[in-house]
Structures are given as structure tokens and as C-alpha cells.
């Protein structure tokens, strides 16, 4: 994913916080506030999506015959979730 292809999580969160502040303040017309609200909900969904996008992989980066490859690995004895 190259930079700028999608809004970064923290940028989306910052925008969302700005929208919420505007909605909580005075000065927005009713129709503007609904437009803001819709944009806010879009950002909430975007952020939630980003939280789910990750896959929980543990990979090792190895160089094989001059090529960089990613290989799934597991820790010997499994992962210590309880620690």
C-alpha cells in the first residue's frame, strides 16, 4: 500500500475528532450538521475497518537466492498468550 492511497488511521481519527467538535459546537446549520454527521459516520466505519484489516500474521523476512521472501513462522512451543 503506497502512501496516500488511503487515509491513515490517525489522520482519519483526527478528522473525525474535528467533525465531532464541530457538531458539538455552535455555528453549524441543521443541514450542514447532517452532512458533517454523514462524513463522521463514514470515518468511523473507515477506522473500524482498519482495525479489522490486519491478519495477525507472524512472518520472517528471509533472503533466498538474492530474493527477499516472507515466510510464515511460529514460535517454538507456541505463542505465550497468557504472559
Amino acid at each position: 500500500m503506497p502512501e496516500g492511497e488511503q487515509l491513515k488511521f490517525e489522520e482519519a481519527l483526527q478528522k473525525l475528532e474535528g467533525i465531532v467538535r464541530a457538531l458539538e459546537g455552535e455555528g453549524l446549520t441543521l443541514e450542514d450538521s447532517l452532512a458533517y454527521y454523514q462524513e463522521g459516520i463514514r470515518l468511523v466505519r473507515l477506522c473500524r475497518q482498519r482495525l479489522q484489516e490486519v491478519e495477525g500474521k507472524l512472518q520472517a523476512l528471509l533472503v533466498h537466492e538474492g530474493e527477499v521472501v516472507l515466510k510464515e513462522i511460529s514460535l517454538p512451543g507456541g505463542e505465550g498468550y497468557g504472559a
Partner: protein, 403 residues
């Protein structure tokens, strides 16, 4: 002496200068001795002699160098000086042009490390303004450490606990031994090039000072500096900071602590989003309520000659807006926004104030009360109040026609 010609003094001196200048070892030597005959002229340069029981060495330390001395020199003090040996032609002597001075008693390794650290510092590798912020939610976390060490297990465990789905990429490297510096630097470089890695932890478990040497090498320091994404150093030694610790964007006392810096707690982020979504919704709902309240206040206070039906219509507009709000919770694209704006405009047009502005007036008893809807409600001679778009008229009834 046949075949040899007589030399001028300067020729011999120049020859010796070349001889000494070509000797790589003399270009950077460490010498230990006791300071004597220390002089500090106003120029700021320092002149002294280093001596031991059998020999003496003339030394000069120029003002640009001596300015940075961290301790005060005095006769009798035993020191280690680093510098270059060269000829001073005017006096026909060789002397040490001192670059740095350290208190005697330091080991060679720590002397060299101090020198390296000072050099990297001058180059700006440790500069605070160069430290980059860590991402709130990294797409992938890069780990540079030994695949068999406890550090890896600790980092994986902490990451999984905080954010079970986080993606981790290990770039394996030996963390001690002769090959460690190059392996660590190479691993950092590969992770930096991989893409999608937003933060990297370089770390190892705790250990003795010797084990740390790889993290005190120039090649590792420069690899961290050159890394395109923020680096957290977790070298695991609290007393002495390694060069890696000083170059890194952040440092952590242990690999576990580094993982806590790199990986957010997923449930906390979800909670934050829930709160923001709820606040956004409350903000809009509050506005709708205000609009509704304003409408009802207008209808009541102006005593509008409106059938109840009209009020219901307007309430229905607001209910419609609220429906839009609820709908946008699930579907927030398309023509709905436009329809909403249309509704809002119609709401404005239908307000009692708008009706008055079109030239209609409300007649009621002075000081308020319900609107007078029928002429027989008042008798000749009674006073009435007529409410206009701008201002009111106080009137007396002359005559009453039936209706």
C-alpha cells in the same frame, strides 16, 4: 656520503614531514602520559608536554578542540590524548596535535566508543528534532532481533495481547558476535524497504556490557538513522545507553516495553471510536431538538392563526429530518442529503415568521392570548393587538361585522 648532496634545513624538514605524514598509524594515535608545563595563552590554544619516566612529547590542542573539553586540565594530571603526530618546522620538533583528551584509566574500547559517539553527535544523529513520532496504528510491526532469543517471544506475546490481529515481520539477525553489526544493519535495511512496515523494534534481552557491543557500532547507528520508518531501540541495559538507543526515535528498557510503545490496545481504539460516533450523533440530535423546540415556541408565542394541522405538518418535517439522521447511520451516500436540504428549506419557508413576512397579520387581545379567529369574539370599543412581521399595532374596534 658520496652521491649525496647537501640539503637545506627546510628540505630535510619537508622530507621528514612527508615521511611522518605518510604513516597512517601516526595520523591517529592514542598516547597516555602525565601533563606538565601546561600553558593557556589568550589565543585559547593549549600547549603542554606529556611525559612518563623516560620520555616527553610536546602537545598542542587548538582552541576549536579544547573548547569542548569536559574536564579541567592541570599539571600532574594523567590523561590519554588522541591526535595526529606531525612536525613543527619552525622549531624542528615533532608534536602531537591533540583532537581529544580523556581521563587516564579508561579502556581502549570505551575511548574509541566515546570518540565515535562524539562524532555521530556532531553529525546530528542523536538530534532531538530528528526524532519521528510513532504511528498510532501500524499496518505491520518490524522486529529486528535473534529468532531464538527471549526478546522475540516477549515482543510477540505483548503485541498479541494488546492487538491480537496485528501483523509482525521478523527480520532475523544475530545480536552478538562479529557478524552481528552487519546482520542487524542489513535486517533494518530490508525491513525499511519492504513497505507496509510502519514501525520497527530493534532489540535483545538483557545481558553483560560486552554483549551490547553490536549496538554500539557505527554501522548499526547509521542503519537506524537511515531507516525510513521510526525505530524503537530495546537493547535492555538501563545504565549505559548504546549508540542504537541514542539514534533511535524512541527507546524502551525492555523488548516488552518496546512492543507496548509500538502496538496499540485494540479495545481502547474501538472504545474511542464508539465514543466519537456517539458524540457525533448526540450533536446532530441536539440540533434537531433545538429546531423542534424553536418551531413550537414560535407557534405558541405568536399565537398563530393556524389550524392544528399546520403544526403537525411542521413537526412532520422535523421527524423527517430525524429519519434521515437514523438512515444515515446505515446508508450515508446518494441523494438523501439533497432531499434533506430541500426539506430544510421548506421548513424554513413554512415557519410562522415567513408567513408574517408575506403580509399576513395576527389579531389578538392586547398582551397576548390566543388569536382571534371570529369577529364576534370582540365587541365594538374593545382594544385588540395586531401582530405584523415587524412590530405590533394597538387598535380599537369601531364596528363588528358578523361572519
Amino acid at each position: 656520503m658520496s652521491g649525496q648532496r647537501v640539503l637545506a634545513v627546510r628540505e630535510l624538514t619537508a622530507y621528514l614531514q612527508r615521511l611522518i605524514g605518510n604513516d597512517g598509524r601516526l595520523a591517529n594515535v592514542w598516547v597516555k602520559g602525565e601533563i606538565s608545563n601546561l600553558r593557556r595563552p589568550v589565543s585559547g590554544h593549549l600547549y603542554f608536554t606529556l611525559k612518563d619516566q623516560v620520555a616527553a612529547l610536546r602537545c598542542v590542542m587548538f582552541q576549536g578542540r579544547s573548547r569542548n573539553l569536559s574536564f579541567r586540565l592541570q599539571d600532574g594530571l594523567e590523561i590519554i590524548a588522541r591526535g595526529q603526530v606531525a612536525i613543527y618546522p619552525r622549531d624542528g620538533v615533532y608534536q602531537l596535535y591533540v583532537a581529544e583528551i580523556f581521563p587516564a584509566g579508561m579502556g581502549m574500547a570505551s575511548l574509541a566508543l566515546q570518540e565515535l559517539a562524539a562524532r555521530l553527535e556532531r553529525e546530528g544523529l542523536f538530534a532531538a528534532e530528528r526524532k519521528r513520532p510513532l504511528p498510532l496504528l501500524p499496518r505491520r510491526v518490524g522486529l529486528v532481533t535473534s529468532p531464538s532469543g527471549a526478546a522475540l517471544r516477549d515482543m510477540v506475546t505483548v503485541s498479541r495481547r494488546r492487538f491480537p490481529g496485528i501483523d509482525l515481520v521478523l527480520a532475523p539477525a544475530t545480536v552478538q558476535g562479529d557478524t552481528a553489526p552487519l546482520e542487524l544493519a542489513r535486517a533494518l535495511e530490508l525491513l525499511g524497504k519492504l513497505g507496509g512496515v510502519d514501525v520497527i523494534i530493534i532489540g535483545r534481552g538483557g545481558g553483560s556490557a560486552e554483549d551490547l557491543s553490536a549496538f554500539n557500532t557505527e554501522v548499526v547507528a547509521r542503519a537506524i538513522y537511515a531507516c525510513p520508518v521510526p525505530v524503537i531501540a530495546a537493547v535492555g541495559h538501563e545504565t549505559d545507553l548504546t549508540l542504537a538507543d541514542r539514534v533511535a526515535d524512541r527507546r524502551a528498557p525492555t523488548p516488552s516495553a518496546a512492543a507496548e510503545l509500538a502496538v496499540p490496545v485494540k479495545t481502547e481504539l474501538e472504545e474511542r471510536l464508539d465514543i466519537l460516533a456517539a458524540r457525533a450523533r448526540r450533536g446532530v440530535e441536539h440540533r434537531l431538538q433545538m429546531a423542534r423546540a424553536r418551531l413550537e415556541r414560535l407557534v405558541k408565542s405568536r399565537g398563530m392563526a393556524q389550524p392544528q394541522q399546520e403544526l403537525y405538518y411542521r413537526q412532520q418535517y422535523l421527524d423527517g429530518l430525524e429519519q434521515r439522521l437514523l438512515a444515515s447511520w446505515q446508508r450515508h451516500y446518494g441523494a438523501r442529503e439533497q432531499a434533506l436540504q430541500l426539506l430544510t428549506a421548506r421548513l424554513e419557508a413554512a415557519s410562522p415568521l415567513a408567513i408574517l413576512s408575506r403580509g399576513y397579520a395576527v389579531c389578538r387581545r392586547p398582551g397576548g392570548g390566543p388569536p382571534i379567529r371570529h369577529s364576534l369574539e370582540v365587541a365594538p370599543g374593545e382594544k385588540v393587538e395586531v401582530v405584523l412581521s415587524q412590530g405590533r399595532l394597538q387598535c380599537q374596534v369601531d364596528d363588528v361585522d358578523g361572519g
